[in-house]
Amino acid sequence: MATVLDLHAHSEASEDSRAPVEAYLNWINLRRAQVPVDGVVLTEHRQWNASADYRALEDKFGVMVLKAAEVETDYGHVLVFGVTDEMARRFDFTNIRIPAQELVDEVAAMGGIAVPCHPGRPNIGLYEHYQKKPVLENVIAVELLNGGSRKGENERAAELIEKHNYKATGGSDSHLVSLIGLCATRFEADIKTIDDLVRELKTGNYEAVDFRPKRKPVPHAIPAEAS
């Protein structure tokens, strides 16, 4: 059974979001056809809250909630899945210059996976850093579809993925309730826990999926046949 997860979302725990987790789940629950995701992964900026417990909300809305983190490195922003207390002690998540190669390697050694996100974004994306610095080793996957990307950013991500043969994920990068689930990742496997997610990100089959509504073409002021 396939699982569809929005792998990149920020709740009001992040300083630049005003979206309550409950509102995210309610939004998804009320719009299953438009936002067909089974769950969301909360990737709060520069922090890890081991004690946050969303089980009651999961039960109320029938939407899975997993926890990860978005940290900032010398190669841009990186999503860390499978965060452990040991990991949070090893790396100061508030540091905006975490050495990316150390993060990738040590997170993997501690049982998690580090996935660079919005790689096509200026300053904080892998694509631009690869123009100036050595390519990171042992990266398995990067984010292909990011719901917050501007024109050209996801295209640069696609170029990077093809060049380095990375696996591709998707996430909304939502900071607002109405944007949750618009980009996501479809896994072939059944995912119920963060351990399942880490395992699948490392070795499973998955693809980035786009649920953003297609823009309708702007109609001509004068019908084409009349002009």
Binding site: R46, E72, T94, N95, I96, P122, N123, I124
Partner: protein
């Protein structure tokens, strides 16, 4: 990591003189924002409400100004920046006859990276208290600096 003296965090640097809240001032505020809820506008109707009388609309809390020297105490990192917004937490109602005092302190300083580069954020928390010393609201002013 942004470099600053951690001793400045939570240290109150300014407290304003009390500002009286008149019934007329609340009425004028309601008129200005188009507020028609009887809780805020109708003396007789509000008596039957949960507060036993007229109270100020929640956003009234944002009308109280910091002191003249407020910005002299806001730490700066670099020469450029802008007001990055405010968060207001409403704690207790403000009533006619209250006298409101603001105390301001640096709540938080942090840095982050974005499309445009590195940014340092300074968050100043202004706490509003009434004449009984009861907290009625917190206002977090967020300032972005470009180092």
């Amino acid at each position: 990591m942004v470099d600053f003296d951690p001793a400045i965090i939570n240290k109150t640097f300014e407290t304003t003189e009390p500002v009286p809240v008149s019934r007329d001032r609340i009425a004028k505020f309601c008129e200005a924002i188009g507020e028609t809820n009887p809780l805020f506008t109708d003396d007789e109707g509000a008596k039957k409400g949960p507060y036993g009388g007229v109270i100020a609309p929640p956003s009234f809390a944002t009308t109280f100004r910091n002191g003249r020297h407020f910005f002299e105490h806001v730490p700066r990192f670099g020469r450029r920046g802008f007001d990055a917004g405010k968060d207001v937490e409403f704690v207790a109602p403000i009533r006619p006859g209250d006298e409101i005092t603001l105390s301001s302190a640096v709540k938080e300083i942090y840095d982050k990276t974005g499309r445009s580069g590195t940014m340092v954020f300074v968050v100043i928390r202004s706490t509003l208290r009434n004449q009984q010393g009861e907290i009625v609201a917190h206002i977090d002013h967020r300032f972005m600096n470009r180092p």
